[in-house]
């Protein structure tokens, strides 16, 4: 809760916690102004991640998170469905994303998938935590399981 600068601080502090715990490596805040901040870090499968926070729009954005996903592909359809599933009541409460507190926006621009999270009720701790958990689920629980060949092709996962 609070001003946009405060919200940026909360997001930054929250992300730094993951870095201090060793979940992220090479964590850095690469751009900061009153409203916005960019963060870079190495995380899943030792890949670089880029997260932008926009305090004015209250969004956390993973831009171009997944390259090479044709809009009409099975991967694109399945991924959207997988993400939507996290708002479903079929999910255990501790894994569910509460639409009253966070809203997910999925975009695919020329095959590059971006995912942004709108923090609805100014609960940025919740927003960061849920955003990271969903990205984790996408890589480890979705791509690795349902589309291993995509992970091989685009993220240099081991083929054999």
């Amino acid at each position: 809760m609070g001003t946009r600068a405060q919200s940026r601080t909360i997001v930054s502090d929250q992300l730094e916690t993951y870095a201090r715990r060793g979940v992220f490596r090479s964590f850095s805040q690469t751009r900061t102004d009153g409203r916005q901040a960019d963060f870079r870090f190495y995380w899943l499968w030792n890949l670089p991640f880029h997260l932008s926070f926009d305090g004015k729009r209250k969004t956390l954005l993973f831009k171009n998170l997944l390259p090479g996903v044709p809009a009409r592909s099975e991967l694109n359809t399945s991924l959207k469905s997988f993400i939507e599933g996290f708002c479903s009541k079929d999910q255990p409460e501790h894994r569910r994303l509460d639409p009253q507190r966070i809203s997910i926006r999925y975009s695919n621009l020329r095959g590059n998938v971006s995912i942004s999270f709108l923090v609805v009720a100014d609960d940025y701790e919740y927003g960061v935590k849920k955003a990271l958990n969903l990205i984790n689920e996408i890589f480890v629980g979705f791509l690795n399981v349902q589309f291993p060949e995509y992970a091989v092709e685009h993220f240099h996962r081991r083929e054999d």
Binding site: V23, L44, E74, L132
Partner: protein, 637 residues
């Protein structure tokens, strides 16, 4: 140093001379076939010389002894459970055999090395492999590396030419062995001082029996294995084992155990990853007690499965969907650590690692608490202080996720049955699973070698482990697909001998899974299985190709002949063959093969004719499957 003993010295020349005499005797006893007509092919049979040799009494050595006998005596005293070898290193293997240690001679040193590895993985006991100095030793390399990655306490033995011939290339088989195994082993030594052979034998077992296990490699120049010792006074450092190693284990810091108990108390969904170290420290009983006391889920990883029964309500090994829910993850004996993102846990989970090696704690995965301890000792200490807690919601979630996983497997099976012109991997996996765990057999009975590559993405999902040592995780970490028949032979030897946790299932058949690519590396060991009457049912998933497929101009490099008859190959090696080309024929073939294995001790290859297109999801859903680790699908870590 004394001279070599006269008579049976175990040299190559002696070996060949004795073999020729034996062969000549056998020929003399056979009927003479006239050349008037083309004679029928003589029957494949086990020569009388084999059971005759196996029935000879043991001949434990006593002083005066040669170096090889001194070493063999240490092996016997240290409880070496088996030797798997090919001829070569004669003095050493003959001496080990004379001590009464079960010995098996196979067709390639590489497969015999894998056999020893498989034997160890399902028993927790130490076994050895051996080969001759140059080619025999280097044939073992892939499987020494696989054993190294699997953290197997494997004793690798090889002869080496005379020290006096170093750097001369005199004769044949010059090889410097120790540099070759560097990076694959825990300890290695070329023995160069005959008088220190006892000391270095002790070195080997001290390394094998303490800390994090890995292979130990000794090579024996002729001056060492052939040296003669009148009595123990001619051996330096001659002590009994309590003087050269200790059975003491590292015990945990009580403060850290209390801290862990507090973390368990405050967690909502704690989970133990029970890995290789739980098996080697034989901590399965106390693991179950700890889990039950505080309703902690348990998921398995590592080279062997069954430390925690898949049938237990707290098991998460077949509940991959539950892993992300864990808020506290306790790695116990996880020697091959995953990196962030390789295991399916939440970024918010806290991590605890219990490991005997402080230097490894914190590698790859960040920790919130590290505990240096023997796995069993840590769990015993934890049992004393962990609070009794019931977590009904967590147990219910585990059950729901197990059901979801089983439903998914059942869906794959239904799809697989619709493909009529070849045998889909889901059909093999589901029907095999039903036969082993939901039919007439006790579900704990059959030990399985889970090998192969693509086929393993299916079968691992359907195999279950209900007791320690029930599943040998074939391609674990190193990813070698070739050793599967070797593993199966060693696992079968363990079950036939009833070693370690296999004791209650002594004599039962063993099931092995492999692919057509992998079968090529060790399929000749069907002859060894037949020779020793090992009851193995080896299922070969034959999709006419390597697991990875090429395209365009390179495609030919990834393909084999279609419809190759590995079953015929088995028949020609003294085993049985079954060729299955339709889904409905698999189960009858499996039942026949298992029954014959159980009753007649005959191995079978079931050649399951599949097609490489089964890996194409668009053409044949569900295609090549991904996997979730840890749990039943895990083999990277």
């Amino acid at each position: 140093m004394a001279k070599r003993q006269a008579g049976n010295t175990g040299s190559r020349r002696d070996f060949l001379k004795r073999s020729m005499l034996t062969a000549a005797g056998a020929l003399g006893a056979s009927k003479v076939v006239t050349a008037a007509t083309v004679p029928p092919a003589p029957a494949i049979r086990v020569p009388d010389a084999i059971p005759a040799a196996l029935n000879l009494p043991v001949k434990p050595a006593s002083f005066p002894m040669r170096g090889a006998q001194v070493f063999a005596k240490v092996c016997k005293n240290e409880g070496l459970q088996a030797l798997f070898c090919c001829p070569g290193n004669y003095d050493v293997i003959n001496s080990i055999c004379d001590e009464g240690i079960p010995c098996f001679g196979g067709r390639t040193e590489g497969a015999m090395c894998a056999a020893a590895d498989g034997f160890i993985r399902v028993t927790g006991e130490i076994a050895a492999c051996s080969g001759t100095e140059g080619p025999g030793f280097t044939n073992m390399i892939m499987n020494i590396a696989a054993a190294g990655a699997a953290r197997t306490p494997l004793l690798v033995l090889a002869s080496n030419k005379r020290l006096s011939e170093d750097d001369t290339e005199m004769g044949i088989q010059t090889a410097y062995q120790q540099p070759t195994t560097e990076g694959m082993r825990k300890y290695g030594k070329r023995l160069i001082d005959p008088n220190r052979i006892y000391e270095y034998s002790a070195y080997a077992f001290r390394q094998l029996k303490t800390g994090i296990p890995r292979p130990v490699h000794l090579d024996f120049p002729a001056e060492v294995y052939g040296a003669k010792f009148k009595d123990s006074s001619e051996l330096r450092y001659y002590h009994e084992s309590s003087k050269y190693r200790t059975d003491a284990k590292p015990y945990p810091d009580p403060k850290r155990i209390r801290a862990l108990a507090e973390m368990i108390r405050t967690a909502e969904r704690p989970m133990i990853v029970a890995s290789t170290g739980v098996f080697y420290s034989r901590a399965w009983d106390v693991l179950k007690q700890v889990a039950e006391k505080a309703d902690i889920a348990v998921v398995e990883s590592g080279v062997v499965r069954g430390q925690f029964s898949d049938g237990h309500p707290l098991s998460a090994s077949t509940a991959p969907g539950a892993l992300m829910s864990a808020d506290l993850v306790i790695f116990v004996g996880q020697y091959s650590m995953p990196n962030v993102g390789e295991y399916s846990f939440s970024p918010d989970a806290k991590y605890v690692r219990i490991d005997p090696d402080a230097a490894d704690i914190g590698r790859n995965m960040p920790i919130d608490l590290g505990i240096v301890s023997c796995e069993k000792a840590a769990l015993e200490s934890l049992l004393e202080v962990v609070p009794s807690i019931r977590r009904e919601a967590w147990v219910a979630e585990l059950g729901a996720e197990r059901k979801k996983f089983e439903d998914e497997n059942a869906d794959y099976y239904k799809i697989g049955l619709t493909y009529k012109d070849a045998v889909h991997p889901a059909v093999i996996a589901q029907q095999l699973s039903d036969f082993l765990y939901r039919g007439d057999l006790a579900k704990e009975q059959t030990t399985v070698v889970a090998g192969g590559y693509g086929i393993a993405r299916y079968t691992r999902r359907y195999f279950r482990a209900y007791r320690p040592g029930q599943i040998c995780n074939g391609a674990y970490q190193y990813g070698a697909i070739g050793p599967d028949c070797g593993y199966a032979f060693g696992v079968s030897a363990a079950v036939q001998l009833g070693v370690g946790p296999q004791k209650a299932y002594r004599g039962a058949p063993v099931i092995g899974i492999t692919g057509d690519a992998g079968f090529a590396y060790s399929g000749m060991e069907l002859e060894t299985m037949s020779k020793y009457q090992m009851p193995v049912v080896m299922i070969v998933y034959n999709n006419n190709a390597w697991g990875v497929q090429g395209s365009g101009r390179a495609a030919h490099m990834y393909l084999f002949h279609e419809n190759l008859r590995y079953d015929k190959m088995a028949e020609s090696l003294g085993a049985r063959g079954e060729y299955v080309t339709r889904p409905e024929d698999f189960l009858p073939a499996l039942k026949r093969s298992y029954q014959i294995a159980a009753n007649e001790k005959i191995s079978t290859v079931i050649n399951c004719q599949a097609k490489r297109e089964f890996w194409q999801k668009s053409q044949y859903p569900p295609g090549f499957l991904g996997k979730v680790e840890p749990g039943c699908m895990a083999y990277d870590h």
